[in-house]
Symmetry: C2
Subunit: 186 residues, 2 copies
Amino acid sequence: MTKKLKTEIRQELIAKEALKILGRQGLGDLRIADLADKVGLVPSGIYRHFKSKDDVIDVVLDFAHNSLLTNVRSVYQENSDAVERLKKLFELHLRLVLENPGIPRLVFSEVIFDDKARGKSKVIEIIHSYFTKIDEIIRVGQKEGQIRPDIEPRTGAVMFLGLITSSVILIQIKDREFDPNNHIQQ
Amino acid sequence: MTKKLKTEIRQELIAKEALKILGRQGLGDLRIADLADKVGLVPSGIYRHFKSKDDVIDVVLDFAHNSLLTNVRSVYQENSDAVERLKKLFELHLRLVLENPGIPRLVFSEVIFDDKARGKSKVIEIIHSYFTKIDEIIRVGQKEGQIRPDIEPRTGAVMFLGLITSSVILIQIKDREFDPNNHIQQ
DNA sequence: GTCTATTGTGAATGAGTATTCACAATGTAG
DNA sequence: CTACATTGTGAATACTCATTCACAATAGAC
């Protein structure tokens, strides 16, 4: 029998493993049985620590949400120039999704794949809040004269997110030649 | 009993309806039973015209592929300036996905949701070929001096696709205030 | 060391859905 | 009008998975 672990520990292990699977195979291939296997349990064991599969996903989403907010906070502290903040945020975001490809996969899956309620509202909240914060950075930058005032903040945010998402998607497609870092400067 | 129709006709009706469902509800909610219902058949009826559900999806993907290629061809014929071509292509693309939201939903689903073989390779081919063609437009524009030569074509293509995909995604999220057309100019 | 709560197990259960198949209706060629 | 191929039907069938549950092992409190 697998060693017994406190439920907080197991939860964490399970969530981490779920994120890995999401990164490698996507939400469509996330099975409770696989997950259990990877953490050394039988399927029913998962249910000692999570009420349902959706709950596992929820925890992963929370992790993603926190990571994004952490990044935003970080660029506010470490940079005072808006353009610098955006650059830095892009860099942090890229690092985050490169290290955890499961995050964008999960987020996009929830948005695009399925219309059912489930975690979708949660995901939309996450994106919306992130979007608003980017918008905010741009506004501040304009007020302080670091960004051209004739750019609509929303448009800027759209483009910024666009650059991010397309990079992420291209990475997904595993166009191996593609190195996002090359493109940041331009 | 529902009127009997030649299989080519029925196939087309089924594929069209599948595209509609994909647009409204996403790949995760595409059921053979629903599909049958919408075209006025019972589930087993679908199998008179398609070998499997994946085959239905394949036909929809073919439709998407053709549409994209048609757009590219069109901008080559109607515009000689590269920047104009890109603008026009963006416009056509936007129109296409607005009229057929099922196309981007399906494409993204296949790429992001699932790692299984299935149509994925087909989707990757589609995106890759589209990407290459955008790259091509930029190259030609540089050769003829309509686009700054210091931009890497690949980078340009990334940004262009990025703008497109982020627009599409934002539309998905149904941020109602969002009107992509506002942002094209900027 | 014993007792009890917690965690792990293995075998069902059950829901959701694609797919198959024998049969029925219908269109069409002759 | 008849026969045959094509298309539609309804009832199985089969599969994949999440989830449940009674039971077993283990850890920690006393």
